[in-house]
Symmetry: D2
Subunit: 341 residues, 4 copies
C-alpha cells in the first residue's frame, strides 16, 4: 500500500485526495498540507479518512512512511517543492505546468535524474477515455502514418480578468494541454510553431495583455502537421475534440454528453450539450492518472507523463507566444538554444 | 426506346411523367390521359415534350406504338384499367394498392399470368436508397438470419378528414407500404398479424371511423417477428426508419435530412428535421422504380414488385383490421381461405 | 449516518457494498451476511471497511444500530427476509423481482404498509442517466402526451442453459426490467399485453422451455401503446435503447459506448460497440438507486420504486407469458382478479 | 427561355449540358463546341436535344440567338474566350479558375465591367446544400460574430502525376475551392496567409514539385481566423467538412453518404463512407449554380459568384504558395501591390 502525502488542499488537491481514497487501488492518503488549515478542511479530511493535516508541508516530506507526494500547491512553488520532495526520497506527481521558467524545470529534471525516483506531470487528458481511444488506435497502426493531427479545445467561458492577468497567457494556461495532446497523439516532437491569436471574446482580455482566440500550426519531427484551435468561450460548453488523419484513415473523438438523449421536435433534432467543463468532463481521468502513477511506483515502470513531457509543452508555448508577437514561424531549436537544451 | 402512356394526370401521374422525361433512360412518355383535360394540363404536358393528351384512356390502349402503361388513376379504377391494358397487350405499372378488394386483385393477377406481360406495383420505397441499402446487406448475409424486423413510419401531419373518410382506413392507405417493407426486408411472407390502434392525434379521425396511431406485430414464415409503429402526425416531420436484427448483427436506417448541418448553441446541439414528406423524401425512388420497370421490359426480366407483392400487403391489411376490431391475432391463412388463395 | 446491513454477498450484494462505501453519502455498510463466509469474503469486506461478517442474517436484523437492510440473497428468499426485516424495524431495499409468486409479493406489500418503513425495489435502470433524461423531458412536457413508448432490450449473449432452466423464463428474468421501464417512461399502468416469442438464438433454450426472442405490445391506461423487443443475443453488445413519441415530438436514447472515437477507413466509418453488459452499462445507476433509497430514509420521502412498482411488472410478465402460450391478448384485470388485486 | 452555348465538351461541359437540359428551368442548350467533334459527341448531343455542334466556338459567339455562354474549355483559354464572349454581347459563366495569371483575370474583369453583362465563376460548392445551410445560418446571425472558420478538404485519391505536373500546384488546383469557401462562409476577405505543406502521400508528387498535404491559416478582414487542412488522399473517400464558430455557437457540416444505413456487428457500429468524389458529392450543385446564373440573367440580379470572387482565391493561392516557399506569413496586400490591385 503506497502512502501518499498531498501538498496543497485547493480544488485539484482535493480532487486527487477524493480520487485516491475512493478509486485508486494500492494507495491511500496519509497526510495533506495547506498553508491555511481551516475547520472546514479538517472536517473534509477527516470524512475522507485522512489522518494528518499540516500547515507546513515539511511534515509530509519528513514522514518516512510517506512514499509519494502530490504537488498541488500554487504554480510558482511546483519546482522548489518537487525538488525538496525528491531530495527527501519521495516519488513526485507534479501538477502542470512544472513552471513557466524553463531553467526551473531543468533543475527539477536534473533532480529527477539524480534521484532515480518516479516523476509524473499532471497532463490528465492523456488518461481520458476518448483521447486514450485515439492513442491506442494510432499505436495499433489503424490510421497508418499520421499526416495531420487536429485538436479543438474551447472553454465554456472565459476566466475572470484577475486570473487572466496572472495566468501567464492563454498558451501557458490553456493551450499547454493541447500542445501536450499534439505530442501524445502524434508520438512525435514539435519542431516549429506558427501562432495566430485574436481578442474576439472579450476586449478586457485584450486590455489585460492576452488573447482569447487562437489557431496554432505545428510542424512535427515525423513530418506530420498539427493544428490547434482555441477559444475561451464556446456558448454550447466545453468543446474537446481531436482527430488524427493518416495514410490508412482517420480517427476522431467527439464530446461527451450527460446522456445520449435526443429530442425530435418542431425546432429540429436536439442532442445535449457537451459536459460543462473540465471537472465534469475529466473527473475519471484525474483518478486514472494517479492510478497510473501508483502503478509506476509499485511495478517500477516509467511514468506515462515524464519530466520531459512536462518540459516540451512549455517550450512550445514559448515558441507560440514569440510567433504570435513577431508574426513569424518559430523553430523549437531557437528556443532550446537559449536554454542550452 | 420504350414508349409509355400514362393514365391519370394527378400528382403521382405527373411525378412519373417528369421522372421519365428527365431521368429514365430508354423510355419516353408518348401520351397522357385524364378525365379532365385543362389548359394547364396541356401546357404542362407540352413543356415536358408529351405530344398526345387525351380525355379517354382508350386512345392510349389503342395506340400500337405504346409499349407500356402507367395506371395512375383513382384507386377504384386500377383493377379494370390494368386488365384492359393487359388485354390490349401493354405492360402495366399499377399504382398501389391494386385494389382493396381481393377478388379484383385476383382478376388482375389472372390476367397478368395469362398475358405474359410485365406487371409492377408502385411500392416505390423498395427503390429508395436507404431501404435498398438494408435489403442489400440483408441479402449479402451481413446480419445473418433475421430475427426482428422493425419499421417506424410516421407522417408529418394527418390528411384532411374528407380523405380519411374514403381512404379505406390507415392500414390500407398508409401502413400498406410498411406491410410491404416488412416482406421486402425479411424476404419472407407474413403468417399472422396482431394490431393495436388508437385515436390519439385527432378525435375527428376517430369519428370518421379510423385510427391515427398503431402498433402491429407480425409473425413471419421464416420464424422472424416484425413490428410496425405508425402515427399520422410526427411534429418533427416524416419519420421513416427501419431496422433488421439478426444472428450476426443489426442494420438500421435513419431519416434523410435536407443537409448535414448541425448547430451547437446554448439550447443544445441541433440537427435538421427529416425531409418533410414523401415527395421530398422519396422523389428519386419514383424515378428508380420506373427505370426498373423499363429495364424489366427491355431485358425481359421479372419486375421487382410482382402482382403477388401487390396482393400480399392487402391481405395483411385485412388481417390487421380484423385483428384490431376483434382484439385477437389473425392468421393470414384465415383471410386467404375466404378468398380461396 | 445511515447504517446498512447487506444480506447476500453475491455479485449484486458486493456491487451495492462497494457503491455505498465509495459513493453513497450519508450511509455506511456496518455488516454483511452470507450463508457461506469464505476467507476471500472476509478479506474483501475488511478492505472495504465492513466490520461485521455473519453467516446468519438474523444478526443483522437484531442489530439495533442498523437502520436499513439490502436484500441481495437468492430470489426465493427475497419475500420472507424482507418481511422479517420490516418486522425488525428495518427499512428494506429488495432486489428485483420481489418474487415470481404474486401472493408472496402481496404479503410483503402488506407488511410494508403496516410498518410504515421505507421499501424500495431494485429497478436500477430508472436511475440510469439516459433513462432519467427521457423521463425528465417527458415529465417536463416536452413531448406532450405520450402516444407510443418503445423499448429495445437485447443482451450481448444468452445465459447458461442451467440458468435458463431456473430463471422463471425470459419475461421474468430479463423483460421484467422493460415492463418496469414502459411504466416508468409512460407514467401509466399497463392494461393489456400481447406477446410473441420465438426460439431463434439457441435451440437449447427452446428445449429448456423458454424463448430467446420476443416482441411484446402493451396497451396503457393513458391510451398510449407500448412495444418491447427482446433478444438474448446481440453480437454487437448490450442494446439498451428507448423512445417516447408524443403529440409534441419524440425523445430517444442510444447506447453508451466506451469512448466517442470514430474510425474512418476503407471499410467504412466505424464507431465503438455499446458497453458490453449491465455491469459496464449500469454501474453508476446501482450507486444512484441506493443514494436515492438513503435519501428517502433520511428525508422521509417516498422511495422512487415502490412496492407496487415491484408488483406490477410481475403481473405484466404473467400476462405476457399467458398471452404467448394462449396466443391472445391478455388483460391485466384478468390476472389481477385471480389474486384479488 | 435563355439560349445557352457551351464551349468545351469535356467532363464539366457535359455535366453542365445535361444539367441544363434536365433540371434548369428557363434555359436550354442551343449549341456546343469542342475542338474535336467526334461521332460519340454528336450522338450524345443529339440525345440531349442539342441541335448544333461546332468545332469552332466562334459560331456560338456569332449566333445572335444565344444569350449566354459557358466557358468549359481548358484553363489557359478561359480568359481570352470569356473576353471574346463578353465582347460578342454574351453573358458568361466561366469555369474556375479564370486563370492562374492575375493580369489575365484583371483583363476579364475590366471587360465584365465595361460590358455590363453577367459574369459568374464556377465555384459550385457555394451552391451545395450543406455549405448553403451553413452560410444561411451564419447570415441569419445564428452563430453571432464569426471567430474561427475551419474547412477540411481531402480527396479520395491523388491525381495522376502527369496532371500534378501541369495543374499549377495543389493550392491552385484543389485548395482554390477552400479559399473561396473561407471567404464565402466568413463573408470577409482574407488579409494574410500562412501555409505549411508536406509530401506525405506520394513521393512522386514531391518530385513533380508539388505537395500533397497542407494546413493553411488565414487572417480575415473581420478579425476572424480561418484554417484549412488538405490531403490528396483520404482512403475513406472525399472528405468535405466545414465549421464556423462564433460568439453565439458553432455550425458544422458532415459528409454526405450514399445512404443512412448503419450496421452493428462484432467489429463495431459501421456507417457508410462519404460519397466517393466530386461528381457524386456535388452533382446537384452544378445544376444549381447554372440555375442561379440563369436567374441572374432573367431577373437582372448580380451573380452569386462575381468576377472578384474569381480573382480573390487566386491571390490567396499566390500568397499561400509564397508563404510555404519562404516560410513566413504573407500579406494579401503584398500580392495585390505587385498587380496594382
Amino acid at each position: 500500500m503506497i502512502k501518499v502525502g498531498i501538498i496543497g488542499a485547493g480544488r485539484i488537491g482535493r480532487v486527487h485526495s477524493e480520487s485516491i481514497q475512493k478509486y485508486v487501488k494500492g494507495a491511500e492518503v496519509k497526510a495533506i498540507s495547506d498553508i491555511k488549515v481551516t475547520t472546514e478542511l479538517q472536517t473534509w479530511a477527516k470524512n475522507l479518512g485522512i489522518l494528518h493535516i499540516y500547515d507546513d508541508y515539511q511534515h509530509i516530506l519528513q514522514d518516512p512512511e510517506i512514499d509519494a507526494v502530490l504537488v498541488c500547491s500554487s504554480t510558482n512553488t511546483h519546482a522548489p517543492i518537487s525538488i525538496q520532495a525528491l531530495q527527501a526520497g519521495k516519488h513526485v506527481f507534479c501538477e502542470k505546468p512544472i513552471d513557466a521558467d524553463v531553467n526551473k524545470i531543468k533543475s527539477v529534471l536534473t533532480e529527477v535524474e539524480k534521484s532515480g525516483l518516479k516523476f509524473q506531470v499532471g497532463f490528465n487528458r492523456r488518461f481520458d477515455h476518448n483521447f486514450k481511444a485515439i492513442k491506442q488506435q494510432v499505436l495499433a497502426g489503424k490510421i497508418g502514418i499520421p499526416h495531420i493531427i487536429k485538436v479543438t479545445s474551447r472553454d465554456p467561458d472565459a476566466p475572470p480578468i484577475d486570473y487572466v492577468k496572472v495566468s501567464g497567457g492563454m498558451f501557458f494556461d490553456m493551450t499547454i494541454h493541447d500542445f501536450d495532446m499534439i505530442r501524445y497523439l502524434s508520438g512525435s516532437d514539435v519542431t516549429e510553431v506558427f501562432a495566430v491569436g485574436s481578442v474576439l471574446v472579450d476586449p478586457e482580455i485584450g486590455k489585460a495583455g492576452d488573447i482569447d482566440t487562437a489557431v496554432i500550426t505545428l510542424k512535427l519531427a515525423n513530418g506530420a502537421i498539427g493544428v490547434i484551435d482555441n477559444s475561451r468561450k464556446a456558448v454550447y460548453g466545453y468543446d474537446q475534440r481531436a482527430e488524427v488523419f493518416g495514410s490508412k484513415g482517420a480517427i476522431h473523438i467527439n464530446n461527451d454528453t450527460p446522456s445520449t438523449a435526443i429530442f425530435s421536435g418542431e425546432d429540429g433534432i436536439i442532442a445535449e450539450k457537451p459536459k460543462y467543463f473540465f471537472l465534469e468532463r475529466y473527473m475519471q481521468s484525474f483518478a486514472d492518472e494517479i492510478s497510473s502513477f501508483v502503478d509506476a511506483i509499485i511495478n517500477d515502470r516509467p511514468t506515462l507523463v515524464s519530466g520531459d513531457d512536462g518540459l516540451q509543452p512549455v517550450l512550445i508555448a514559448l515558441a507560440a507566444q514569440r510567433s504570435m508577437q513577431q508574426q513569424r514561424p518559430v523553430s523549437l531549436n531557437e528556443i532550446k538554444a537559449e536554454y542550452n537544451l
